[in-house]
């Protein structure tokens, strides 16, 4: 998943650095503030561990190998900000010692593997594990799922970065200057090996390390899991933290990110063509039907017309933006309606309570 130099335009690399630098600053501040000075050797060693993990070739059935990153494991043990630093350092070594991943594209690689991977993986882990005891099997499964989702999120990000290159950076004659594959090709090409091989590697790695720590050294998990009982017997049973709200939020976020996939489809949705796009000949018509003509364009006061920007550029970004705006508007309206309903029912309930005598 490491992107070498030359695949991305300097502009994309600059964006990568601009996005990564404040995150690095925040990460180093948070990490050194939390537990005095003890973190530095721990971070260094986990970063070396991440490097070694990326070197570990895991056998897959046909006799070849693939590799994991280890970012989610570090996030689970030390917290996601520590994972940002540890994986960034491992990537630095890979770029400089192995030439695996470029120097200019270091920022972009760090965003993918050192930011997106640990944070997404850790969030999924937290949601899936809930309040389960540290030694429970559920934590191991949650870790595996987190690892799987995290590495695929990173792969998707890398695919988007690569796929945008021929769209944004072309020579005067329209020839792509950097990566010649557009989104329609980079996304399946990156996601397939990660959904299958690499995702499994990361999941297995996370699960294996977690279960080892559960058996051998569970104390190491305690600092990053405040308030979680160590064994199931340590605390009274609590309601599951996997509330419908949280699950819905997670699903919603995933769906928002996936909205631009629709742009890959060659044609439009059935029955939604604008009058100008109608193929009149094929339909056996000589003119646009009168009603369609009259009412089309009835409502033209739009913010993001057709889910896109005015100029038609950056369609994918516009799609995601539309999705976020749409969800925000709908949630705001529903929330407002809910509040009104609550106020109304509280007012009527108050009368009822006052009417009933206390038992």
């Amino acid at each position: 998943m490491h992107i070498p130099d030359g695949y991305l335009s300097p502009a994309t690399c600059a964006v990568g650095y601009v996005a990564a630098t404040p995150l690095w600053v925040v990460a180093s501040r948070r990490v050194t503030r939390v537990v005095k000075s003890r973190n530095i050797p721990l971070l260094a060693i986990f970063s070396a561990l991440s490097f070694i993990i990326m070197m570990f070739n895991v056998p897959i059935p046909d006799g070849t190998t693939a590799h994991a990153v280890g970012g989610v494991v570090i996030a689970i043990v030390l917290g996601p900000w520590a994972a940002v630093i540890a994986v960034s350092i491992a990537l630095l070594f890979q770029a400089l010692l192995f030439g695996d991943g470029g120097v200019l594209s270091f920022g972009v690689n760090a965003i993918n593997m050192a930011v997106i991977l640990p944070f997404v993986g850790y969030a999924v882990y937290r949601i899936a594990a809930g309040g389960a005891a540290l030694t429970s099997r559920r934590r191991v499964v949650a870790g595996a799922v987190g690892g799987y989702v995290g590495i695929n999120a990173a792969a998707l990000a890398a695919a988007i970065e690569l796929g945008l290159q021929p769209v944004l950076f072309k020579s005067a004659s329209g020839v792509p200057l950097y990566v010649p594959y557009d989104l329609g090709k980079t996304i399946p090409a990156m996601l397939l090996p990660h959904l299958t091989v690499a995702g499994l590697c990361e999941a297995i790695l996370t699960a294996a390390v977690l279960s080892y720590l559960q058996r051998a050294d569970v104390q190491r998990l305690v600092p990053n899991h405040p308030g979680i009982p160590i064994t199931a017997g340590d605390a009274a049973p609590r309601p599951s933290r996997l509330s419908p709200g949280k699950v819905a939020l997670a699903v919603g976020i995933v769906l928002v990110i996936l909205t631009p996939l629709g742009l890959l489809a060659p044609g439009g949705a059935f029955g939604e063509d604008a009058p100008g796009d109608l193929d009149l000949g094929a339909l056996g018509l000589r003119a646009v039907p009168a009603g369609l003509e009259k009412y089309n364009g009835f409502w033209s006061h739009t913010l993001l017309g057709g889910y896109g920007f005015q100029s038609g550029d950056h369609a994918n970004l516009a799609y995601i933006l539309s999705a976020i705006v749409g969800i925000a508007v709908v949630m705001a309206v529903v929330f407002a309606l809910g509040k009104v309903a609550q106020l109304l029912s509280a007012a009527s309930g108050q009368e009822q309570i006052e009417a009933e005598p206390h038992a």
Binding site: F56, L104, A208
Partner: protein
């Protein structure tokens, strides 16, 4: 209770005449390298590479004498210039420049070329060549390979141009990065990073990580070699093999934690309380200023030469 001074009984089978586990007593057949071998050799290759790089960094070449900060900034400038080039001619000229710098720094050119081209540019070629086919991206077919529905299909000129451009760009970029790292000892490179504003704590962490990569590699090597020396049959890539990898990594994590505590104690014992102080970075010499200026000039030359060649 057993007498404390008497050693435990030796098992009987250990004292019998040794019999090879294979009844015919043969040595065995050669098998394809298993994942064990690959991880082991990968680790020792890495060590070898880095050892080698320290040797080149000690030669009396021109790049070795420069301040690492100048080299870092200069490399980034040239990488950006190369990244912005639109013509293959520009990239070829830049590559010649890099080769010249390498030669001037006493780097063996055959080694340098091999180290750069094996593996990333060749890998890039494999990845990018499919884009040159007209079935993938539309274009003017210049190498006619087959016909489909009356249309000639094959390699397109745009595709080949694009492929050549990216392969060349990757090659020059990797060459620049490799040149930087083999002419600079690791310690001085880190000092350069610090001089450019990277927080001291991060540099200390990087320093220690570098150090522990080797420690861990040794630990991994020991674990694998001890497993390999007990491996009688060929290694199967199955669930048991994967479980071994999982357990090895788990053990490494455990070792990591204990090692980190010892290291922290060693630092605390010498007065560390969270602030890192270090010997100051060296001053810039005239040659460094000249080199800085030269890299700016070269980057500008590459860019303007590229623009002159056409839009």
């Amino acid at each position: 209770m057993r007498d404390a001074t008497a050693p435990p009984e030796t098992p009987a089978w250990l004292l019998r005449q040794p019999v090879a586990l294979c009844p015919c007593g043969c040595i065995g057949k050669r098998q394809k390298a298993s994942y064990l071998e690959r991880t082991l050799t990968g680790g020792s290759d890495l060590m070898h590479q880095v050892m080698f790089s320290e040797d080149v960094a000690r030669l009396p070449g021109v790049l070795q004498r420069l301040d690492p900060r100048v080299k870092l900034v200069g490399t980034m400038l040239l990488l950006v210039a190369v990244g912005l080039a639109h013509h293959i001619t520009t990239l070829l000229a830049a590559y010649a420049l890099v080769l010249g710098l390498a030669w001037w720094s006493r780097v063996a050119l055959a080694f340098f070329i091999r180290r750069v081209w094996l593996f990333i540019p060749i890998f890039t070629a494999i990845v990018v060549l499919p884009a040159a086919f007209s079935v993938v991206n539309d274009g003017d077919v210049i190498v006619h390979l087959w016909t489909w529905n009356g249309e000639p299909e094959g390699l397109t000129s745009q595709g080949l141009f694009s492929a050549a451009l990216i392969i060349m760009r990757v090659a020059v970029s990797v060459s620049l990065a490799v040149l930087l790292t083999i002419t600079t000892p690791w310690g001085r490179l880190l000092n350069g990073l610090r001089g450019l504003g990277v927080p001291r704590l991060i540099v200390l962490t990087i320093n220690m990580s570098y150090r522990y990569i080797f420690l861990l590699l040794e630990a991994v090597g020991d674990m694998y070699e001890s497993r390999k020396s007990r491996q009688v049959r060929a290694v199967k890539h199955d669930a048991a093999a994967r479980a071994t990898v999982g357990a090895s990594i788990g053990t490494l994590v455990g070792k990591c934690g204990h090692l980190a505590e010892e290291v922290h104690q060693a630092m605390v014992a010498r007065g560390y309380r969270g602030e890192v102080h270090a010997l100051d970075a060296t001053k810039m010499a005239a040659i460094d200023r000249a080199a800085a200026l030269t890299s700016v000039v070269l980057a500008a030359a590459i860019l303007s030469g590229d623009r002159l060649l056409g839009g």
